[in-house]
Symmetry: C2
Subunit: 462 residues, 2 copies
Amino acid sequence: MQDREKQLRSELEAARKRLYERLHNGEDPQKAYEEEAWPALLALWREYPQVKGGVARGFDLSVHTLGTSPEATILAILGTRAREVHILHTADTKQHLEKIQKDAGVLVYPRQIDKSNVTTVYQAVEEILPSSREVRVAMDLTSGTKAMTSGLAAAAFFLQRVYSGIQVVYVDSEEFDTTLRRPVPGKEVLIRLPNPYEVLGNFQKLIGGELYQRGEFKSAEEVFREAHRNTGKGEFDLLARLSRAYWSWQVFRFAEAAGALKSLIGELEKDAWISHPLGRSLDTLRGQREGLEAMARLVEQKDLSQKEAVAWLASTLLKRSEETDHLAMAALYAYRALELLLQHLALEAGQNPESPSLGPEEDQAFERTLEELLGEKPRRWERWGLLEILAYLKSKDHPALKGWDLKRLQGVKGALQTRNKLLLVHGLEVPQERSIRQIRGLAYDLVRWLGHRVDVEPVNIS
Amino acid sequence: MQDREKQLRSELEAARKRLYERLHNGEDPQKAYEEEAWPALLALWREYPQVKGGVARGFDLSVHTLGTSPEATILAILGTRAREVHILHTADTKQHLEKIQKDAGVLVYPRQIDKSNVTTVYQAVEEILPSSREVRVAMDLTSGTKAMTSGLAAAAFFLQRVYSGIQVVYVDSEEFDTTLRRPVPGKEVLIRLPNPYEVLGNFQKLIGGELYQRGEFKSAEEVFREAHRNTGKGEFDLLARLSRAYWSWQVFRFAEAAGALKSLIGELEKDAWISHPLGRSLDTLRGQREGLEAMARLVEQKDLSQKEAVAWLASTLLKRSEETDHLAMAALYAYRALELLLQHLALEAGQNPESPSLGPEEDQAFERTLEELLGEKPRRWERWGLLEILAYLKSKDHPALKGWDLKRLQGVKGALQTRNKLLLVHGLEVPQERSIRQIRGLAYDLVRWLGHRVDVEPVNIS
């Protein structure tokens, strides 16, 4: 402490002694405070405001609610030292504005509000804040009614979501004197109130959990990472990793997703996490990791005979098809799922749809089925599309298609023929929701027939 | 008012008179209050709690901060009547718990917090709240320090995002007595503090604006609709409509998007909105509406000769390609944009890529160019794909391809050949970011060559 500050503090100490002597003699506390303690306290804060714990410097503006104690507000103004000072006063507390300007030595912008109507506080804050989000603002709730101060805090914490330079502060006291109805002079200190969002992981967990539920895994990951940073709790790290894994899965980065799940499972298997809620989903997560690894291999090796991987990839495509709002996308995913499954079945039956090769009898049966399906003489192509593979499998009486009579296939013929004409393929056709559901129906049948246990649903995190 | 309530009120009136007589005689205010006013006030609130303006009934639990005035907290407990009552007290105010239980006639769950450390308040709230989001909770900030009450309000308003059944309440008074340092007995009333988010459209505008900036138009629309409902301000309705239009555009519902923009433009042309910020973007919006209508016609009529519509649709596809995190999607959009543009140019040059028909000389030139491009003898197909159209246009020295020498085309050959092998088309290939950028580069060149002014960027809303 510098000499000058020591001197001011000892003058305050002396003033306090005189104050308590006068109180002891039964003098009026308010008058005694004003004459003895306040001048010394003001002198100290003018040069050495007592500020603690993370209050910023260099505020562009400050907003203060004003109740019946102007002295506390004056200290807050001296502690925040904003370039522009706004005071929210009531009809009753307007009288203190002059003293505040004189003692704090600043020009203030006054604004009258209703002491019981918090909406007037919100509106004042809204109008005072400039549109620049870079602005540094102190919101001081030292003085005022509950509605005023709680309203200011609520507005400030809310606005911090977009105005990162807002701080909520107030003049606290380490010791309160009930006779004075004030802090013991010299025990005042300006402190910062932290935003509940910053402090409490569980609040962030709720928000992150909502995003996770809605399948917005990237945003969920950000929230959980922030919760981990703020609280240091490892459980949020696990939730962030899980969200990351599901996001990677959504955008078909299967190897990345498998890696993320692998490390997550490794953590969950440790004793430290034995009671983590995700522990209940360990089996599902292990299964999903295997599925993702199978898909990563499928994409890497391009070997369509990998039945399990085909079941997982088709299910992934079908899930995306169901989730998207975008019909053109939904159609694309559904077609690709069905085609993938058919490609697999054709390959298993010994035919590569890229270069099919049939014996004469086989070919006759194939052409006949195709004609029945189309209702007209088919054009023949070098490669097989969806319809050709379907006709081929049907002509071979493939057991996967046992439940599908020709009538059902004819019913979806239109939908199947449309594929190449779709907006996102080679044409301008906008798909119909009904057709997409039909395609998905066929694909789900085939996934079930493959008989692999596939679970593409995100695990429960609450 | 019922007779019984009238009777209790007149007893309170009589008690208040006796109280002020005693004060007038210089008696101790605290003692006089406790003996005269409090019993009558308590009797009234036990049967007829004075509750105003939107406070709910049937709370499952209530949380009260407790400062130096237990009476106010007792009234809040009687006013909220929750099935489970939690009190956040400090080391100093613990002494009041017994009186509270006795006077309010309830068993309370006490929990000690630090009066200056708001984090302890947040933690208490977090632990008291059950995980069910259906719970109805009253958070009462009548009593306690600024840190305690502001902290409770901030936590409560924050939690309302997920717990819709939380209300923030406090006992206000229409008249305060400075001698008593309490409300004038009988003037107390329990009221609700509204959430700043509900009240102030500008706050929601900030949040909605953020979502809009990030291209999350569906969520932005929801926020703006809510702001419109809460504030009744028509400007939010305009922003909601704009967000809706852009969302429809994103999912290729061009006619819907055009309709939404049309009605928005109609509004903006009215005198009432002459100074709305969107007014500055009217020309852009009119242009976008025309573009959307052109795309709607294109999709409806499937006439690829509509140059302007092709430019808009290709630009829309390219924008989506750039925005998505999903590489397989990004590739698909980019390919479709390039193909669409090439389909248009081929058609303009007199060839339908679905059934091309070339004279012998033309065909020779075409085959030669295709061979140069591929570096090998080409296989010929009935329909033309991307590479064939490119080779055809090049063989005709089409001016749109003036800047593209054979070397550049050979450079992207691999990327172009990959299309059918892509994961979302017929194969399992995962596209490379570099290839996608190359494809987009070619497509952007063609859009520029078409020479139509196309602006697919959302207009500025701030």
